[in-house]
């Protein structure tokens, strides 16, 4: 029991502090600043130096020291709470915003269950014989995994809404309202578009979904979600981007209209935490889309004992188990970062929507499309 709990703690630290947070924070730098500067033909951050470490004192390191300096700076800033604000909620809200962004990671599988015995590949599945399977690569293997994600992402509305209300400021209130309306609008299309994928996999367990995506249609085409549910993929990507309030859906914090939206009145680490939670949530979007639509940890043709081309029991190219695991985790990280990169490209190449356009997109385009997608998928599944 104790070892189980220690293992869980280890997994949490590994996932949150070594995967989600670093990628999320690095994004602030590489995505928000360096990539944007490249797109806009600027230099971007290049002044901060890591002069403590010998040998790095003179190097700009593509601006990475900037992000460390930013974090340090935030800690030493004054925490100003405006008059008339609800102090209790003002203090709690940053933690409330961070909470769902971290907790959601609990169900993301980084790899299939570890098999202590021998692996036999049958019908595009790894079957563990003469051994146990151990859940080393996801924090919790919930059968209701996807419902858990929806539940927690529903909770994340509260952070923004309460932040807007607690600040006692007009910009904040408008930002909070806009963000809650936008998030609940897109939650509908999010859930309905992914229902098509659930229909095909027949499960809500994320790891099982990924396992099923190892199937090869006709022996050569990986049955990834994006292959069987292309429309759902795009709707889900759009809805998730709107959920995280990232540009071009960044109406709740539109700088040119309402300063910084619901966190206008937050300073110092509170501001940093809200920003950080947004970035972590953005990484999570990448991980979730990779899991549901891009085959998760699957590498095409790679199974537990090596590469198989077609439905064959023996591997065409045998690999040791640790190499398979490394390849798969690498593939998962690559897919996650690819979706992140895609989000940033969208962010810097699309103009921001007007608020009515955001709402129209959600209710008049995404919702009917996801309903139609669901009906067509259900019909095809029913007659097959």
């Amino acid at each position: 029991m104790l070892t189980d709990i220690l293992l869980i703690l280890l997994k949490i630290v590994a996932v949150v502090l070594l995967f989600a947070m670093p990628i999320g924070s690095l994004m602030t730098l590489l995505g928000d600043r360096k990539q944007s500067s490249m797109i806009q033909n600027r230099v971007g951050p290049n002044r901060a130096r890591l002069s403590i470490i010998p040998g790095l004192g003179r190097l700009p390191l593509v601006g990475i020291p900037h992000f460390l300096a930013d974090g340090l700076k935030m800690i030493f800033k004054e925490d100003a709470i405006p008059d008339g604000a609800d102090r209790t909620w003002h203090n709690i809200v940053p933690a409330m915003a961070l909470f769902p962004a971290i907790v959601m990671w609990a169900v993301i599988p980084f790899h299939d269950h570890y098999c202590t015995g021998e692996i036999v590949v049958q019908n595009y599945r790894d079957i563990c014989v003469e051994g146990q399977t151990r859940n080393f690569f996801s924090i919790a293997n919930l059968d209701a995994g996807l419902l858990y994600v929806f539940a927690i992402s529903g909770v994340s509305v509260y952070g923004a809404a309460i932040a807007g209300w607690a600040s006692n400021a007009k910009y904040s209130l408008i930002g909070g309202l806009r963000s809650s309306a936008q998030m609940i609008s897109y939650e509908v299309s999010m859930a309905l578009s992914v229902a098509g994928a659930i229909l095909i996999y027949g499960t809500l367990n994320l790891n099982e979904m990924v396992v099923q995506q190892g199937h090869l249609i006709g022996g050569w085409l990986p049955m990834w979600g994006i292959v069987v549910q292309p429309l759902a993929f795009f709707i889900f990507l759009g809805a998730m981007m709107a959920e995280t309030k990232r540009a071009p859906f960044d109406m709740p914090e539109g700088e040119s209209e309402i300063v910084a939206g619901y966190f206008t009145e937050f300073s110092s680490m509170k501001f940093a935490v809200i920003q950080l939670s947004e970035y972590v949530a953005t990484v999570f979007v990448g991980a979730l889309i990779a899991t549901i639509f891009l085959g998760g940890w699957q590498v095409p043709y790679l199974y537990g004992d090596g590469f198989h081309f077609g439905n064959t029991p023996t591997a065409a190219l045998e690999l040791p188990y640790w190499a398979v695991i490394a390849l798969r985790i690498g593939a998962f990280s690559f897919k996650t970062i690819f979706i992140l990169w895609l989000q940033f490209m969208l962010r810097w190449t699309l103009p921001r929507f007007r608020y009515d356009q955001v709402m129209n997109l959600g209710w008049k385009i995404f919702l009917p499309l996801s309903l139609a997608n669901l009906v067509i998928t259900a019909f095809v599944v029913a007659i097959l």
Partner: protein, 117 residues
């Protein structure tokens, strides 16, 4: 069981992490508030009027629509999990359900319930 304990542990972990990070600035940050720091930001002018604005009715409309269609999703997701087992009959039943809600959407759309302006 262990999976649910894991969920509990990550809940605690996330709460502690959030509280710690927010507390950092309380310990390390300076404390010298003045009147101008404590007023809310309204593009540089003096704040006027009540900050708790009246909410636009459109937000309520969005909220009501959300309730309707999210409940639809709540019913459709369990169906989607088991839909393969029930074949065409299950599809027909769900189709009736989706059609009714689609008619609701068409009606709301036609009545201008989804118009933002």
């Amino acid at each position: 069981m262990i999976d649910h304990i894991a969920i509990l542990i990550i809940f605690i972990f996330a709460s502690i992490l959030g509280a710690t990070v927010v507390a950092l600035s309380v310990f390390f940050g300076p404390k010298n508030p003045n009147r101008w720091k404590k007023t809310v930001y309204e593009s540089g002018s003096e704040p006027f009027g009540d900050s708790r604005l009246k909410l636009d009715i459109k937000f309520y409309m969005i909220a009501i629509s959300f309730i309707m269609f999210d409940v639809e999703a709540v019913f459709l997701i369990p169906w989607a999990v088991v839909a393969k087992k029930y074949g065409l009959y299950g599809f027909a039943v769900a189709f009736v359900f989706i059609t009714i809600l689609a008619i609701g959407l068409v009606y709301e759309w036609g009545r201008g319930g989804l118009e933002w302006d």
